[in-house]
């Protein structure tokens, strides 16, 4: 039996800004009641796709100067900024899309 829904069951995360120059930069906004564990969500996703990274409170540094993920919490929302560089443009797009999927769906079962 196929199941169809018009609304996805994940977190509410929207891409609000995107710029491409020598790298790719995107800003997302997530509206939520309780902030999820972004550090674990993004770090484990990068691990999954074999991108070494160093997680810190509030940001994650990708190894070999491949970029930075930062997030800033306010009362009802989180602003997430992704900066990728050093990869081919096609890989930057795939990685940022994977991270956006993770922001919406990864580790939902823990919340």
């Amino acid at each position: 039996m196929i199941r169809l829904r018009f609304l996805h069951p994940g977190r509410h995360v929207w891409r609000v800004w995107r710029r491409r120059d020598d790298g790719l930069e995107e800003t997302w906004v997530s509206f939520r009641r309780v902030a999820p564990r972004w550090e674990k969500i993004f770090s484990s996703t990068l691990d999954l796709i074999w991108l070494p990274n160093t997680p810190q409170p509030g940001h994650i540094q990708l190894s070999d100067e491949h970029g930075l993920i930062t997030w800033h919490e306010s009362r009802w929302a989180t602003r997430i900024i992704i900066r990728l560089r050093g990869f081919p443009a096609a890989k930057q797009s795939l990685v940022v899309t994977t991270l956006l999927k993770a922001a919406r769906f990864h580790l939902l079962e823990e919340e």
Partner: protein, 147 residues
């Protein structure tokens, strides 16, 4: 029910073991399959025949969800799974050594649904969409593994 087949092949500059290890982890598929939003509830954790997982797919704004089951896992040659709910399909990745590289072939066999999809696309359009999707998946896999 009529069936269709989409296939695409490419050479990837990586050893077969590396290619196999990348694509045989079900949760990693969200990084190279367009529209695949989520893989979860993977049991057991290690790839093996009988391993199952749940998927959610964004199909033009509709969320399609279902279950999949690994049917073949022969490192580093073949990884195969079936979608066992939703629209039945069989996905087979074949990896053959090509010097130091790998020749990767994805073959997807699927039933052509007469109800839901037929409302949105004719059979030739549906088949072309699936062929394009197979090409995109292999291209994405190549991008993720080569750079």
């Amino acid at each position: 029910m009529p069936t269709g087949r989409a296939t695409h092949s490419a050479t990837i500059s990586a050893a077969p073991q590396k290619v196999f290890d990348f694509l045989a982890e079900p949760t990693r598929a969200t990084s190279f399959i367009p529209g695949l939003s989520r893989i979860h509830n993977v049991k057991p954790a290690t790839p093996q025949p009988g391993q199952t997982w749940e998927y959610e797919f964004d199909w033009f704004g509709l969320v399609v969800s279902g279950n999949s089951k690994c049917t073949r896992s022969e490192r580093p040659k073949v990884f195969e799974f079936q979608t066992i709910t939703g629209n039945p399909s069989t996905w087979t990745y074949k990896i053959e050594p090509s010097g130091a590289n790998s020749q990767v072939t994805l073959e997807v066999q699927y039933e052509i649904p007469g109800n839901v999809v037929a409302r949105f696309a004719s059979k030739p359009v549906f088949e072309k969409m699936n062929q394009d999707r197979a090409r995109e998946i292999v291209s994405n896999l190549k991008t993720m593994l080569e750079s």
